[in-house]
Symmetry: C2
Subunit: 553 residues, 2 copies
Amino acid sequence: MRFFWASSVKAFCELPPCALRRTPLRASWEVRATSVHHYNYRSFSSQPQPDESIDMATPKEGKSNKLSFQLKTPKGTRDWIGVDMILREQIFSAITEVFKRHGGTQLDTPVFELKEILAGKYGEDSRLIYDLADQGGEDCALRYDLTVPLARWLAMNTSVQHLKRYHIAKVYRRDQPAVAKGRMREFYQCDFDIAGTYDAMIPDAEILRIVVEVFEALNMRDYITIKLNHRKILDGLFAACGVPEDKIRSISSAVDKLDKLPWDQVKLEMEEKGLESEVADKVGEYVKLSGGREIIDTIKADELLSANEHIQKGVADMELLFNYLEAYEISDKVSFDLSLARGLDYYTGLIYEVVTPLSTPEGFAQSQDKKKSKSKSDDPNVGVGSIAAGGRYDDLVNMFAKKRQIPCVGVSFGVDRIFTIMKQRQAKEAEEGNTTVRASEVDVFVMAFGGKGFNGLLTERMAVANQLWKAGIKTEFAPSVKPRLPQQFKLAENSKIPLAVILGEDELAAGKVKLKELGLPEGHPEKEGCLVSKDDLVEEIKKKLNKTALPLR
Amino acid sequence: MRFFWASSVKAFCELPPCALRRTPLRASWEVRATSVHHYNYRSFSSQPQPDESIDMATPKEGKSNKLSFQLKTPKGTRDWIGVDMILREQIFSAITEVFKRHGGTQLDTPVFELKEILAGKYGEDSRLIYDLADQGGEDCALRYDLTVPLARWLAMNTSVQHLKRYHIAKVYRRDQPAVAKGRMREFYQCDFDIAGTYDAMIPDAEILRIVVEVFEALNMRDYITIKLNHRKILDGLFAACGVPEDKIRSISSAVDKLDKLPWDQVKLEMEEKGLESEVADKVGEYVKLSGGREIIDTIKADELLSANEHIQKGVADMELLFNYLEAYEISDKVSFDLSLARGLDYYTGLIYEVVTPLSTPEGFAQSQDKKKSKSKSDDPNVGVGSIAAGGRYDDLVNMFAKKRQIPCVGVSFGVDRIFTIMKQRQAKEAEEGNTTVRASEVDVFVMAFGGKGFNGLLTERMAVANQLWKAGIKTEFAPSVKPRLPQQFKLAENSKIPLAVILGEDELAAGKVKLKELGLPEGHPEKEGCLVSKDDLVEEIKKKLNKTALPLR
C-alpha cells in the first residue's frame, strides 16, 4: 500500500438538502469543509468549548432531580473523526507496513491489567496510573504503556524463545494534558520489540533501522536525529567520576534534563541530590560530549573512562552497533550523546530517543497558540519533545518470572506527537494549495431523473446500487423517495464522487443507464456521459475507475 | 482487498537454533505449530491454566514483603496473537471493506466516558459497567457499547446533520464470562450507524443490506437469518391485548426470552410480573407469528391488531421495508418475528437480530467442551446466541441535548462470537487439509555461506537486507554473526519463506548473489537457483513474487 501525502478529506457528514439548495456549489463545499475543521478543533481540545456546554441535557418531566452535566469527553481525551482520523490511519498504516517488512507479528493485550503487574515498574510515575474501581476481588489498572504487558505476556508464554512483535494501541496516563503538543491522557503508542537471545547488537541495530524507515515513510527522515547512549557507558561514567552507586539513578535523571535546562540548573539539582560540586563538574565535562562514531575514540583515549569495566563493555557494543548502522546506511541519522539518560529504570543497555528540531521546517513552534504557553509544559519553544524512544531491557521479563530470562530491545513511537507535527505540515500544504482534496471514498453515485409524474425510481436506484455493491464498488444514492436531479448532482459533487449512474424511465425500459464522469470541463467529448447496457455497467465502471473492483466471493 | 479463506498462519516466534538442530525439519515445524496452538488455547481461557501460576515472581532481596501474585490477564480478558490475531484481522478487514463500500466514515471515541454519559442508558445492565477509581473530580467509566458514545458525539457536534459512521473497538461489561462461546468482559464491537433525517426505512434497509454483505464476505450468508420486528407493532400488540402501559417494557423483556425458553416459562414470568393469565395467552397467540412478508397481511387481516394506531404505523414501515429488501435481494434472509423484543430501552422502530442455527454445518455445538457446560450460560446447546443486532433509536441523542433531534439506525456485530464460529470452521478445514498454511508474511531470507575462514558475512547480509527493505520487500536474515548454512535454510523453511538470497564471498566479489526459490521439487530446472547481479536483485525478486513491491517514497 502506498502512503499518500496528499491530504484527502473524507466526507463524514452530508449537508442537509436545504443547505444545499441555499448555497452555490463551491460555497456549500467550503462551508462544509469549515465545519469539519471547526468541529475537529473543538474535539481536539481537552477543555470543552463554551458552546459544548450550552445545549445540555436538562431535567425531564418526572425526573426533576436529574442533574445536568457538561457534555464532553473526559479530560485529556478526544474523539477522532474526519480529516484527523484519515491522517492518523495513514500514519498507522505507514508504520504497520514497516513493521511487517521486518517480520513483525501483532500482539493485542487487554486495556487493563492486574494492578500488581504494573506495580513497581514506573518509579515515581506510578502515581499517573489509572486504577479501576474494585471489581470484586481483582484490582485492575489501565495500562500505562505497551512494554510491561509484553513482558507479562513473555513471562506467561514460556515456550516462546524469540519474538518480533508490534502493538499499536491506546495507553493511559493521568498526567496534566498539554493538548497543543499532542500530550493527552489517552493516547496511542506504537511499539516494535524484539525479544530473545541473539548475537550482540544485531536486533538493536534493526530497531534503529526500523526507526529510520518509519520516518522515511512519513517523509520526515530529514528532520529527525536519533540520540543514542548506552546505560553501561553512562553508569560507568558516573562511577568513574565518583558518583556514589546509590545516587546513580537520581543523578542520571538530572543529566537527562540537559536537553531542556542549562548546565547550571542541572548542576544545582545534582548538588541538591547530595553530589559534591567537583564530582558534578567532572560529570558535566563528559556528558556534554556528543557526535558520531568518533565519540568512541574519545572515550577510549580517556584514561579515566577507558579503565572502567562497564564502559569497556558499552564501548564494545557501540563499536559493533556503528558497524551495523553503516551497513544499514543510517549512521548519519544518529548522534552518540552522553547526556541521554532516559527516565525508565528498566533499561540495561543501548538507549535512544528520536528528536526533531524545536522549530521544524513547517514552522511548528510559530504556529502554536502563544496564549496557552503559561506553564512550562505548554511552552511552544520546547517543541513536541521526543517523538520515539526506547532501548534494551534485558531483565524486565525476569521481574515476572524468576526462571525466565529473555532479553528485549524495542522502540515506541509517539504517534500523537507525530500526528501533531504532520497536521501542521498538512495545514501548510493546504495553504499553499499543494493538496488534492478528495471528499469521500465513494466512487459512484446512482441518481434518477424524469419528467411529469416522475416517481423517483427509488427501488430501481436501490437495485442498481445493489448491483454495484455486489461487485465491490463503493456506491451511494440520495436517501429520498423523490429527489430532484440538481440535488443529486450536488450531493455527488460535494463528496467529489467521480462517477454518476443516471436512471431514466425510457432508458431503463431499454435495459440501459447513463454513465457519466463528473467534473469534466465544458466541451469534453464525454461531458454528457454515455448510455451503457445495465449488464455491462460493472465492467464499464471498473474500466473508468481504472482498477479491478473486488468480488465479494 | 480480497478476503482469503485459506487460514494463513503467521509465525510469531522463531525456534531457537538448538531446537532446530535437534529436530528434523518437518517435526520442528510441527512442534512449533503445536506450541502456537497450545498457547492460544491458554490465552483464550479466562481462567489461568495451572502452569501459568507456577513460574511466578517471588520476593526479591530487599523486597521481602512483596507478595507474589498470579501471572494472568484479568478475568474475562485475553491476549491476541498468532493465528487468532490473523483470523480476527481478516474479519475486521472484511467488515471494514463493506462499511466503506457504503460510504461509512470512522469515528474513534475514548475508552472511558464521563459516568453521567452512561447513566440511565442500559437499564438493569448498568450494574455491569466498569467504573474507574476517582480521578480527582471526574467520575469516569469504561464504555459499555459504542452506541452511547456515538449519541454523545452527535449531541456535541451540532453542525452534523447526516452521518454514516463505523466504529470497531473494545467495550467492557463486568458480566460472567462464557469463554467457550466467546463471551468476554473485554470484547470487540463492530458498529455501523446512519444518523440523520431521511425518507422512511431507506437507511434501515441499507443497514440490513450491510448485514447480509458482511456475512457474505465472511462466507456465512447461507447460515444466518435476520429476525425482524418493529417496536411500534410490538407495543401496539401489547396494548391491543390489554397489557397495561407501565408493564409493556417488562412484558416485552419476558417475550424476548421465547427463543431460549418454552412458552410455559415465559407465561409464568409474565404472570409473576402481574399480567393476567388470559392477557398473557392473547399475547402468546400473536407473538408466535413469524415468517416473511405475509405476516404483514396477517396483521392487517386481524381485527384487533389492525385497529391499533401504533400497529398501523409499524405496518406501513414494514411494507416499505419489504419493498426495499426485495430491491436489495435480501428478503429471503429475513424473518418477521413478532416475538423479537430486544432488551435495550432506547429502540423506537425497527429492531433486528442475526441468528445462526444452534448446530452450524461446522458442528459448532458438538465440538464445544462438554465439561464446562454447567451453568446455563455455558450450555453449548444454546449456541453463541445472536451474532449481530441493532435497530432504530430516534430519541437517544435527545437524551443528551434537549434541542437536538437526530434519528439513528444501526447495527452492531458481535465479532468475538463470529470469531468463535469461524475458528471452529478453520479448525475443521485444517483437519480436512483444505488450508494452505503460510508461516510468515516475510518474502525473502538473506543467507550466507563460505568455506574455511568464513566470517559469516554479517554486514554484507545486512546490506542486502537493507537494499530489499528500501524497496519495500519483507526480508529477514539469521540474527547471528556466523550462522551455519543448514541452520539458515531451516529458519527460512520453518517460516515458509518463498525466496532465499544466498551470499558467497566469490560471488559478492563479482557483484553477484544467488536467488533461489525455496521448496521446489527435486529435478526442477531452477532448483539450484540462479546468479543475479546485485543491481538487478530487487527487480528479479519482484518478478518472482509476481507483484510490484512498493517504494518507500
